[in-house]
Amino acid sequence: MDAFNNFANGTVALFSDPLGIVIFLSGVVGGMLFGAIPGVSMLTLAAILLPFTAHLSAEHGIMLFSVIYCTGVYGGAITAILFNIPGSPENAPTAFDGYPMTQKGQAGRAVGAAVMCSAIGGTVSAVLMMLATAPIADWAISAFGPPEIFALVFFGLAVAASVGAKTIWKGWLSILAGLMIAVVGLDPVGGIERYDFNMPYLLAGIHFIPTILGFFAVSEIMVQAEKKVTGAYSAPKLSVDFPSFAELWAHKFAVVRSIIIGFFCGILPGIGATLAAFMGYNEAVRWSKERWEFGKGKLEGVISSETANNAATGAAMIPLLALGLPGGALTAMMVGVFQMHDMEPGPLVFLNSADLVWVVFAAMFFANLSILLIGFLETKTIINLLRIPFQFLAPLILMLATVGAYAVRGLVIDVVVMFVAGVVGFFLRRTGYSVAGIVLGLILGKIGEQTFAQAMQMLHYEWTGYFSRPIGLALLVAGFLTLGASAYRAFYAAPVQEPEEETKSA
């Protein structure tokens, strides 16, 4: 009942605050739009908004990001279905059957199914998140010290490195590059300057906001600019024809299965929603009696993928809020929002800022419901907005990013750093590295080093001390097993075919 009362209080707080309502609605529409527009994603919007959250309260800032997360994951499905361009990796399996449905003239059915299943998956996940996060945080307060947090960071980075890029090597190098960027500036124990190259700007470290803006907003514009110049950019077209409720009801088992898969995958640090979408889709294929129809435009494919990825959104908030560990790029940016308000995400947030947590939870619940409403009412409007030529959108995004990067500290050098990060991101993506991995490394690097130092001091520099701390030991072992398994697979398993082709041939 506590959870219900807290949720009711959070809902009242959310909808009795006019600014909160405006931010909530902006997040719902903005996430959906940026998820839907080819060439930009919810991460672009989140990166642009990140500096401006300093002007909002922590509650509004985190709420805005969590709402964008929910609707952005759905918005990416629109581009996956219509143009075979997933808004983000978690929408990739949606394209396997969504795009063939578009080619068969059934785009409306696919988008409609995505709307309903995203809303269902996300809403159920939000409810489970509300029930689970507080008890986990309570437990974490007593059970988690620096050795456990370091072990958790290690495990999260091991998962992200192993599955977050094209190969384990590129995954690791991406994460390590992020960790190395985090080293620049003062060391967290003794305050000694590192890699400042005698430049005062680098003394405070490379700020994560220009870096994130560069990697996610600017590099994406550059990638799209190249496509535009080389003629690979395609204009959207669609008719809307939503499926009936009975048609969706026939897939109720697929929905429940994907919710369970999505939720448990979403909890894992690393790349929860992507794993969720793929496992949801794979299980749908495995359980189906008509598996040869997958990849050719089967509605169940869209349903399974979209339910699972939205089911992961609520789950991904659990490690962030209960343990302070971001699982992906967007939750890593949320850590940035917390830090800008001199807060650290983690179990203590429940003690010190319980109001914030429950407003965020209520917002996520209603954002998922909003997908249902806005998805049905506004999809046609979104489709019309998609017709805005990208060359007109790009200057707006680049200038917003400029203002955002400059506004953080009033330093032009931050704008230079952002655009250089954009160019670096452009070239790294060409060679298969993961910009999300770099950002995760950058954000977790500081936490990792600090907790490592504290853990070593606590354990008197003896690794065997972990044997008396079973949770930390389990996390370390899980991290090493993840690494070992992926290294083994890298050398001994056959490379996979492109997922789309593989599924089609199944």
């Binding site: 599955v163 995954g171 794993l275 007109f392 230079v416 655009f419 060409r430 992926s486 490379p495 996979v496």
Partner: protein
């Protein structure tokens, strides 16, 4: 050589070179910390070691597998990399792009260098900055016309490099038009209209409503123009 290609060797070489430079530089801050046994350099050196191991592991993997593919469905799913078009992956293209990207950095260094040689104070460099910017802009335009993608990569950095001196207010509309041109737009009226619209929205939102102070520049007449815009709006 196994399945190794030149690109694989270059990639590994770059990582190892980076690791070497970072390792050498780590001696600059290799100081003990009384309360912490590993000191300030322990953590970065551990990361450097892992970078070396991962770079060598990747090289060995390339040697065994060639380009290879994703090693699992999840790796394939998380792969957000983009294929480089053939005409944008030659050594010539990379060199051309490198020169384009270097132009803004030339601007960031040369006026101070000349001013230092002439003994000018930092606030007396306005004319030198404009005289440096003009030929670099011409060179940039000429090179970007021939390599639009390279131009698109370098233009934002050039914009940022000029921002401190020329200010956001004077540069932003021209930057917007430059971006549109490099992305293939050729209708002047549309470009001017969109640039004015985008500029107007930003000014209203950030300068008029949110009072965000954007760089006004420090070189006349750009500085005067920036201040005039701020005065009119606020």
């Amino acid at each position: 050589m196994g399945n190794l290609k030149t690109g694989h060797l270059v990639e590994a070489g770059l990582w190892l070179l980076l690791a070497l430079v970072l390792f050498i530089y780590s001696f600059e801050f290799n100081k003990p910390i009384e309360i912490y046994k590993f000191g300030a350099s322990g953590w970065p050196r551990a990361i450097i070691l892992l970078i070396v191991l991962a770079a060598l592991g990747q090289l060995f993997w390339h040697w065994k597998r060639g380009e290879g593919g994703a090693t699992s469905k999840l790796n394939a799913a998380a792969d957000d990399s983009v294929e480089a078009p053939d005409d944008h992956s030659s050594l010539g293209w990379y060199m051309h792009t490198l020169v384009l990207v270097a132009i803004p950095f030339i601007y960031m260094r040369v006026p101070d260098f000349i001013g230092g040689m002439m003994g000018l104070p930092p606030d007396g460099l306005g004319t030198i900055k404009m005289l440096t910017a003009a030929p670099l802009l011409v060179l940039f335009a000429w090179m970007a016309y021939r390599n639009q993608v390279g131009g698109m990569l370098a233009l934002p950095i050039f914009f940022a490099a000029l921002l401190q001196d020329m200010g956001f207010y004077a540069l932003a509309p021209m930057f917007a038009m430059g971006v549109m041109y490099l992305m293939g737009e050729r209708r002047i009226k549309w470009m001017a209209g969109v640039a004015a619209g985008v500029f107007g929205i930003l000014l209203l939102l950030f300068v008029k409503l949110l009072y965000v102070g954007l760089p006004t520049g420090n070189v006349r007449p750009f500085y005067d123009f920036g201040n005039w815009v701020v005065t009119v709006l606020q």
